[in-house]
């Protein structure tokens, strides 16, 4: 029933993300939208590093790319990544939000508007509040909100801010998130 999953975190959640992507089967039924805080001057390397062990292809999309199931879309460095209502990627160089570009709030908010109750939003370990508002929008528009268990996070700011703002559907460990995703049909 779900049509997309959107994941937010910072560079510190790299290991968790790698572990999650590793577990996904090649025929994972929905697209994975990834918005991770990253160094803006390091344009290359990140997507390659994520791809090495991932079960699904991970790409940094071009503007207006069609979003397809079984592909991971990583927000390119120094751009915001929006999801258009017609399920295409739209990039933007507008001002940073919460000191961040890409901003997790913007990717989550636009994904929520595009996928509404067919969306899963997951907030992982991270060092600022970006993402908390976005996850709230996911929940408000009928989607499923998941936050990584703060006890498991190296940096708790992002997850705790999210939990404060939204009564989420699940607080999951990495392994529980993986099990949840693997049970999607």
């Amino acid at each position: 029933m779900y049509k997309a999953v959107v994941i937010g975190g910072s560079a510190g959640s790299f290991q968790v993300i790698t572990k999650m992507l590793m577990s996904l089967p090649k025929n994972f039924p929905i697209p994975v939208l990834l918005c991770l805080h990253r160094l803006k001057h390091v344009r290359s390397g990140f997507v390659e590093a994520l791809s090495i062990k991932s079960g699904i292809p991970i790409i940094e999309p071009y503007d207006k790319d069609n979003i397809k199931p079984g592909i991971g879309y990583l927000a390119p460095s120094n751009y915001h990544m929006y999801i258009e209502l017609n399920k295409r990627i739209a990039l933007s160089t507008e001002e940073p939000v919460n000191h961040s570009r890409p901003s997790i709030d913007l990717t989550f908010e636009t994904a929520a508007q595009a996928y509404r109750d067919k969306l899963i939003g997951i907030i992982l370990s991270g060092a600022n509040r970006d993402g908390a508002y976005g996850l709230k929008k996911v929940k408000q528009l009928g989607g499923t909100a998941i936050v990584q268990d703060p006890n498991e996070c190296q940096v708790k700011t992002m997850t705790e801010a999210s939990l404060k703002l939204t009564s989420v559907d699940h607080i999951f460990t990495t392994q529980q998130i993986i099990n949840f995703l693997l049970n999607l049909k």
Partner: protein, 276 residues
Amino acid sequence: MNKFELGIVDTRNIIKMLQDVYDYDFKNYALTFFKRRVENFIRTHNLKNADLFIQRIEKEQEIFESFLEFMSVDKTEMFRDPSVWRLLKDELLGTLIPGATNFKIWFPEVSSGEELYSMAILLKKLNLTQNVRFYASSISELNIEKIKSGLFDPRKIEVNNANYKRIFSEGELSDFYNQENEKAFWDTSLIENTKFIKQNIIFDDYPKGIKLIVFRNQMIYYNQILQERFLKIIHNCLVPGGHLIIGNNEKIDYWNSDKDYITVSKSESIFKKKLS
């Protein structure tokens, strides 16, 4: 924490008003972007809702002009993506410009002017300004006036300097601007050879015989229909053998790109129009 949100009907009404009253057609802007931009404008100008926004803009040209300025998004920093500028500096410009007569460079949406000033500084450093003429188009008169005055946001100095250092081993970016208290100004003699063109969203007045077009991170604000129209205009303006630079994650696939263009650099999104 709850932000003002624009409904789809309100968005359509706003687009219709801008078309009817001012003949600006935003309907082929990317919807998410347009909506978000209007929402931000309504919030920062304390206009409360779509109806008030429509009323005020209909009546007050001044607010409309600031709206246009707001819609031509900041290109964020000088020498954004230093690797593009390094390639221009080390390989491309030095082979293209010397010997060329009347080397025309066009910025189809110059917005806040960073790309224009970056190019002007680069050419100055390379001592290649002589035969070069800039053309800079924008939908916003206010932006054009700001660029002509040289004014820029001093909070950007740090990131601008960092980018500059990634390209040039000699000199300082501060060789090209003055800072007075809270304000910073580019040396406007850098752009004295620039023709500014104010226009609507779709051009009826565009320069011909262009040898280099710098159009980075602007098509991302358009939907595919408008992107295609722009690429057609660009194709008409560019001389055979002329170059086009777009943003890192933009593409020209819709236009018969394989037939008409050679990829000069895939990673930096530089294309060359074929000779025939």
